[in-house]
Amino acid sequence: MQARFVIYALLAIAAILLPLVAPPVMNNLILRVGSLMILAISWNLAANAGLISLGHSAFWGLGSYAALLVANRLGWPFFASLIPAMLIGAISAAAIAVITGRLRGIFFAIAMLALSEGLRVIAVMTPEFTGGGAGVFIDQALRPSTQTVAMVTAACAVGCAIIAYWISLTPFHYACRAMRNNENAAEMLGINPLRFRIAVLSLSGAMASLAGGVNIWYSGFLDPAIGFDLHVTILAQIAPILGGIHTLAGPIIGAFATIGLSEVTRVMVGEQGFSLLVYGVILVFSILCMPKGIYGTWLTWSQRKRQTTPTAPSATKAATP
C-alpha cells in the first residue's frame, strides 16, 4: 500500500518535470493529456453525483476568456490570471447548480448544453469586450515559455487527481454517490441535495475553467468557436467513460488512452479525414465493448481471475480461516 503511494508520487513528480528534459515536441502532448485529464476528472466528479454535463466547454471557455481578459486589459501575468479563471468557473457553476434546481439526468445535460451554446453566442455578440467572432490574441509580452505552460498543466492535473482522491475519503463522496443513486432516499438520510450539488459543481467548474485558463496561454489565440467548442465537451466525457466512469483512475487512464489513440491513428493512418474516422470507430467500439471503461473492465477481469484460480495466494488465504 505504502509502496504504491511512493510510486504514484514519483510518477507525478516525473510528469511535472518531464517538460524540462523532453524534446519540445513533447510539450504539446503533455499539454493535451494534462488538460484532458483535468477536464475528465472535473466531469467525472459531477457525474459521480449524478450530474451528467453536456456543456463542460462552458467552463473551459469562461476560464479561457477570464485569463485572456485579465492579461490583456489589466496586464496580469500567467499565474495570477489563473485565479480569476478558476473563480469564474466556480461561481458560474454554483449559479447553474442553483438555477437548475432539481434537474437531473438528461434535463440537466440539456441545460448545460444550452449554457455552453448561449455563452458562445454572447461572446460573438459582445465584440468590444471579447473580441467577437474575429477573435483576439493574448498579450505576447506576457506569455511564458511553452515549457512553463506544460509544466503547470502537468502540475494542475496532478493537483486535481489529488483533490479527487482526497474527496473519495470524505463524507462528501458518500453524499454524492447516494444522490446519484437516489436523491429522494438520500434526502431522508439528512443529505441536503442543493448544498452538495453547489459544492460538487463549483469544484468541477473551477477545475474545467482552470484547464481552459492554462490552455489559452499555450494557444495564444481565442475566439468564441474555440472557447466554447463542442469538441471540448465531448472529450471531457469520452475520456472518463473510456477510462472508467465513477472511478478514480478512470479519467486519468482515459485521458492517456484518448490522446494516445488519436496520435496513433494520426501517425498510422496518415490521411487526415480517414484517420479521424478510424479514431472515432475505435472509440465507439471500445465504449460499446467495455461499458465500464478500461479500468472497470480490468477490475472485473482481475476479480474473476482471482476467483477462478484456487491456487492464487489471496484465494487460499480466504479459504483457510
Binding site: T170, P171, Y174, M188, L189, G190
Partner: protein, 245 residues
Amino acid sequence: MLDIQNLSKRFGGLLAINDLTVSVKKDQFLGVIGPNGAGKTTLLNLITGYYRPSQGKIFFEGERIDGKRPYEICRLGIARTFQVVQPFPEMSVLDNAMTGALFSRDGMTIRKARDRAMEALEMVDIAHQADVMAGALTLGAKKKLELARALATKPRLLLLDEVMAGSPQSDIDELMELLKRIHANGVTILMIEHLVHVIIALAQHVFVLNFGQELFQGKPDDVIAHPEVIESYLGKPLEALDAEA
C-alpha cells in the same frame, strides 16, 4: 411525541388527507391500516416533508415541522423506510448504512459512521453481507438494509411504510422479531401495514384511515371487531378470512 392537527392535503380535486388529527406517544407502537388509496403513504410523505400540507400543523416533540425539508426532518430524529425499497444499488451494503449515519447529525467522522453502520447491520442481521453491492441483494435483504440505513440515523421515531409487503412468511416472521427488538430499544414506531395480523401482533394502538379521515382508533382487538372497519377494510370478520385460508 408526534402531533398531527387538522391536517389536510389536496391534490387537485382529490382530498387525500381530510382534516386528520392523530398523535403518536413516546415509546408507542402505532399501527396504521386502511384500504388502498386511504392516504397512508401520503400521510408519511407529509410527516417527512416530501409534501407540504394544504392545511393543518405537524409537531414533533413540541417543534413545528410541517414545511421543513426531508433532510431537516431526518436531523430532528425521524427516519423512514419506503414502500418500494430504495437502497443505493451502486454502493455496498456497508456504504449504504454509513450514508445513513454520516449526515443525520453534525460532526460524524467516517470511522464513527462505520461503527454505527456495522451496529445497525448487525441489528438487522445482514452484517455478513457488508461488502456486497446493495443492488445484488434479494428483496428480503434489501428491506433489512433499508431498515438498517434508517436505524443508522439513530431515530427516535421510525416510520415504516409496508415493510412486510411482498415478503414470504419466513421473512415476515423474522422482520416481526426485528421490529419488536427495535421497539424494545426505545424507538417509537409508526407502522403502515396491509397485513392485519402483523399489526395486531405488534401494535399497541391501531389507527384506521379511510378516505383520508379517521375511521376508528383503539386497541388492536377492538379494531378488528369494529363493524365499520370490517365493512370498509377487512370485508369480512377476520375469523371468516382465517377459515378460508
